[in-house]
């Protein structure tokens, strides 16, 4: 109410008008003029417009989300109802004819394998790059390297796809042969196909690694810069070398950040579409031997099939998209659990 902010020195008339307004608001306590009344601020036009528009935006977002979810689930359920195979365990993708049978087992396998290879390569390299930038490189070099890493993040994925297909994959044939020659006794490194193509899940994993590297490196770099100087000095004063200091103070402090950064990268690796679709010589079966051509990922399969799909096919693809969504959710949830398990040692309460 305006009386509470009206100085006593102002005229009685003004105070009266204030009190009258208060009464009309049904909140005034009328008679007690000496005590400042609980303030009910007058709502100004600007506030009202802002409140309305931001609330509207929030509601709009929820409506759009709900519409998308309803559409996806309805389409997917529709298709799943007509499926003659087992959606979760089959690896075929037949969506026309009298007996449509489709399943995501092969797609999920390919998605997980290529993303896992990408993470195994990208995380150590990204952490190394971030450590070099924050703790080893002279300032000028660090700055330049930082820019280059950021620039790598700006390359469109279709360019990575072209590069991987035309330039990188022919160069990797030798590496494929070498790996299967020396590690072939491990079943997944075995190679049935001696053919001269490297359009494999392994190559996809490498390209995905290059694509997610800048995200992981950029985020971990920021985390490493947050490590308090006091903790680094504590380690150094104990007689730690630089690497020992990093092991004692920097890496433990940055661990939750490294995990979060990896999850961001993994999200992209799981969902990357066009680069995989271009590079991979795909097949529908579940492929574990990632040095052989074949296999497919959920996202790439959607990109490859969508144009030629009938209505049932589209529904099936949407269902597979939902599987990808839950896969990502699952991985993120698992990472949260890992981060929270050591919360009291996280350094956040230091």
């Amino acid at each position: 109410m305006s009386t509470s902010i009206t100085p006593e020195s102002r005229g009685d008339a003004k105070r009266d008008s204030g009190r009258r307004r208060g009464r009309s608001d049904k909140t005034g306590h009328g008679t007690d003029a000496k005590l400042p009344k609980p303030a009910k601020t007058q709502v100004r036009l600007g506030d009202r417009v802002f409140l309305g528009s931001s609330r509207g935006a929030g509601i709009l977002l929820l409506v759009i989300m709900a519409a998308i979810a309803v559409f996806l689930v309805v389409e997917a359920l529709d298709a799943l109802g007509k499926n003659d195979g087992n959606f979760l365990t089959d690896s075929t993708w037949v969506t026309d004819g009298a007996k449509p049978a489709f399943g995501v087992a092969g797609l999920v396998g390919g998605t997980v394998i290529s993303a896992a290879i990408a993470m195994l390569i990208a995380v150590p390299v990204a952490v190394g790059v971030a450590l070099f930038i924050t703790h080893y490189a002279p300032r000028r070099v660090a700055q330049t390297l930082g820019y280059i890493v950021d620039l790598l993040a700006a390359v469109p994925s279709v360019v990575f796809g072209l590069w991987g297909l035309v330039f990188l994959s022919p160069k990797l044939i030798g590496l494929h042969t070498w790996l299967s020659d020396y590690l072939g006794w491990i079943p997944i490194f075995d190679k049935d196909d001696a053919g001269a193509t490297a359009r494999t899940l392994f190559t996809c994993g490498i390209i995905l690694a290059i694509m997610v590297l800048p995200i992981i490196a950029a985020v971990t770099r920021e985390v490493f810069l947050q490590v308090p100087r006091a903790h680094e000095e504590a380690a150094l004063a104990l007689g730690a070398t630089r690497w020992e200091m990093i092991r004692t103070a920097v890496l433990p402090f940055g661990k939750p950040g490294i995990i979060s950064a990896s999850m961001l990268g993994l999200g992209r690796a799981l969902g990357e579409t066009i680069a995989v679709a271009m590079v991979l010589s795909s097949s529908q079966e579940l492929v574990f031997k990632f040095l052989d051509p074949g296999g497919n990922t959920i996202a790439a399969n959607i990109a490859n099939q969508f144009g030629e799909s009938n209505e049932l096919g589209r529904g099936a693809l949407i269902a597979s998209g939902l599987v990808l969504f839950f896969l990502t959710l699952l991985v993120n949830g698992a990472a949260r659990v890992v981060i929270n398990r050591h919360k009291e040692f996280s350094g956040a309460n230091a």
Partner: protein
């Protein structure tokens, strides 16, 4: 195991900026030497040259000689990492490793030195925590994070961490400035105990503290703004506080400036 430190003609720089100039002094074994002086006079910079922590700041460098029982710490073949293992340091703000338990904090330095046997570690952790007057307070929660302790306990944990590697000298850079009076008293009592085994150098802004804990006191000052810090005088604490030779020292101690 305690050693004498002889400093001669020491200058310390941050880039082109000279922070302390021409310091020479001798620090006797098994004594507590307090550094006092107004802010910005280079006490902290100087104490950090004694275990080669100063040079970790980009652009920082040191001229002159620091000898530990005759061995020049800045000699060409001396490894700064080895120097820091010999000369321990406690910082202004308690800085236990937040990602480690109390036990691991104390054991951190030993693990760096390659001690792996659990029984050896257990023994040193207990001895160091007892040495830092902290054992009774934390013995039931060694696995809990060090950051959960109070400020004073954290600082004693940091002292335990520093003495676990059996340094020959212990440097303390305003160890009580972030602590309440009771914790401060606990640290001061601890210093009195530690001096039987270690050579201790302590920077303090608290004149009473210098008078209480130290055997010798060094007064630092700067000639004017932008000038490097200098050692004004060093002597037995009693004498510095009762009959200093330089007037500036008397003025500072009496609270007439600084």
């Amino acid at each position: 195991m305690t050693k004498r430190i002889e400093i001669s003609g020491l200058n310390a720089y941050y880039g082109a900026n000279k922070a302390v100039e021409d310091i020479s002094m001798t620090i006797e074994p098994r004594t507590v030497t307090a550094f006092i002086g107004p802010s910005g006079c280079g006490k902290s910079t100087f104490i950090r040259t004694l275990n080669r922590m100063h040079e970790l700041i980009p652009g920082a460098r040191v001229e002159g000689r620091v000898q530990l029982d005759g061995q020049d710490l800045y000699g060409p073949e001396v490894d700064p990492v080895a120097v820091r293992r010999t000369i321990g340091m406690v910082f202004q703000r308690p800085n236990p490793f937040p990602t480690m338990s109390i036990y691991d904090n104390v054991a951190a330095g030993l693990k760096l030195n390659g001690v792996k046997k659990k029984s050896d570690l257990d023994a040193v952790v207990e001895r160091s925590l007892r040495g830092a007057n902290l054992w009774n307070e934390v013995k039931d929660r060694l696995g809990k994070p060090g950051s959960g302790l109070s400020g004073g306990q954290q600082q004693r944990l940091c002292i335990a961490r520093a003495i676990a590697v059996e340094p020959q000298v212990l440097l303390m850079d305003e160890p009580c400035s972030a602590l309440d009076p009771i914790s401060t008293l606990a640290i001061e009592d601890l210093i009195a105990l530690l001096k039987e085994r270690y050579t201790i150098v302590i920077v303090t802004h608290n004149m009473q503290q210098a008078a209480r804990v130290s055997d010798r006191t060094a007064f630092f000052n700067l000639a004017g703004p932008g000038q490097p810090g200098r050692l004004v005088e060093i002597g037995d604490t009693e004498k510095i506080f009762s009959a200093p030779e330089v007037e500036a020292t008397a003025d500072y101690i009496a609270g007439r400036f600084g």
